[in-house]
């Protein structure tokens, strides 16, 4: 099989990609737990690290193979194809869902009178260009964008410190264990388990022996940033976080320094544009690369636009209102679980039982 992606990225770039990917969908993190959302983030972070380790163990066991080749080897020709299609469907659909999530956000906050399809086409064109340029360009763009994001974040936190009310955190843990676990499950599914898409990107890492530490580092960093965001939002709003669809946007909106520095919510929008672009591009790239591998093509480039059109169709023809959107987010964790945890876990278990790959067959 020819190599579809010749680009190589360094470990530090992979860490940065993981962080951007993790904070990219911060729109809906921790909904349902109110002031205890931070505990849920901590629980889900622990699970996320375990999941990242699972992905690395699976990948390094079959060193030198792509994820779709691993699936092929473990399940055989026909079942393998079926499972590969299921995984690619998950990636494709996730891209569409994440993308339409961002479009909803822009549509309800800043571009209220722009038709959704205009935002969608413009955004998709940028992501398509990123996907065509490959992982190396994406990783380098990310180095700059992540720096910008972090600077932005620190800036807003500094301006908000004077409004922090620490009693907002009290009482701790009065929502019940079941509810807390459910919310933690939600945060784990979105964004942490979504790093399954990195299975498509692992082969591009230049120092494969650093994969484990890179994945763990990236997951923990992105978890800590999410934790910081959630803590900030709770310190400002307390249980009121539940009442806003876009909590971060609402929180930064409250910045008011001497009636001069106000209306800084545009910073949140900027952050979501950059990180959202990164996240959608990565998922888009992963999907296109996967489909090209499945169809045994020599290059993935011709698939970028056709799949982009399909993404646009699915993204536009989605939910009719925000209530359906929020209900879908609740169920998403159950729907996505078999794909992003189930497929890698079962693949690894079967590989262990069948003692794959056989010695010398590599």
């Amino acid at each position: 099989m020819t190599v579809l992606e010749k680009g190589r990225i360094a470990s530090s770039q992979l860490v940065m990609l993981l962080v951007s990917f993790g904070v990219g969908s911060v729109l809906v993190v921790g909904k349902g737990a109110g002031r205890d959302a931070w505990v849920a983030v901590l629980i889900s972070l622990a699970v996320a690290v375990a999941h990242a380790v699972l992905l690395v163990i699976l990948f390094t066991r079959f060193r030198g193979r792509t994820f779709l080749q691993i699936i092929d080897l473990v399940y055989g020709k026909y079942l393998g194809k079926l499972i590969a299609i299921a995984f690619l469907w998950y990636l494709f659909y996730l891209t569409a869902v994440v993308f339409s999530e961002f479009i909803n956000f822009f549509k309800t906050t800043v571009y209220t009178t722009t038709p959704a399809w205009v935002i969608l086409v413009v955004g998709l064109l940028v992501c398509a260009s990123a996907a065509r340029n490959g992982i190396e360009v994406l990783a380098r763009a990310n180095q700059l964008l992540l720096l910008f994001y972090l600077a932005n974040l620190v800036f807003t936190v500094v301006l908000l410190v004077k409004d922090f009310q620490l009693e907002n955190f009290l009482p701790v843990l009065d929502i019940g264990v079941n509810k807390l676990l459910w919310v933690a499950f939600g945060i784990a599914s979105l964004p942490f388990f979504e790093v399954s898409v990195f299975l498509m990107i692992f082969p591009a890492l230049n120092r494969q022996e650093e994969l484990l530490s890179t994945m763990v580092k990236g997951t923990i960093f992105s978890g800590l940033i999410l934790l910081g965001l959630v803590l900030r939002d709770i310190a400002i709003l307390g249980n009121l976080t539940e009442f806003f669809t876009y909590t971060s946007y609402q929180v930064v909106r409250l910045i008011n320094v001497g009636k001069f520095l106000t209306r800084l919510e545009i910073l949140v929008v900027l952050n979501l544009i950059t990180m959202g672009f990164l996240k959608v591009s990565l998922l888009y790239y992963g999907t296109v690369l996967g489909v090209a591998q499945l169809l045994r093509l020599r290059t993935y480039l011709p698939l970028v636009f056709p799949i982009g059109v399909l993404l646009a169709v699915v993204g536009l023809n989605n939910y009719r209102n925000i209530a359906e959107n929020l209900r879908f987010v609740e169920y998403w964790r159950l729907y996505a679980f078999p794909f992003h945890v189930g497929i890698p876990l079962v693949t690894l278990l079967i590989a262990l039982v069948r003692k794959l790959p056989e010695e010398g067959a590599n």
Binding site: Y93, V97, V121, G176, N178, K179, W182, V291, A292, L295, R296, L297, R298, T299, L301, P302, L303, F305, P306, I307, V309, L310, A312, V313, V314, L316, N317, N318, Y319, R320, E324, R327, F328, E330, Y331, L334, Y335
Partner: protein, 77 residues
Amino acid sequence: MVVLLLVAFGAIILFEVPGLIHKAYWRELIAFSVLLGLGFGLSLLLTLEVELPSVTLGILRFMETHFEGLLKAWGVF
């Protein structure tokens, strides 16, 4: 709108196809044509305001019928 759609798809075809033919990448050309054809059909229907079934709503209905009771019993809804 339909004209705009045709222009966009024309641009995509002009952008990709000559290179593929030049390199004799037939397999890639077939994959490209099938996926783009599917995309064109669906987006044409969307442009003509035909009600397409929504995948998301389908999944939502499915999950609600099968899991809502369970989650209510568990106390998370």
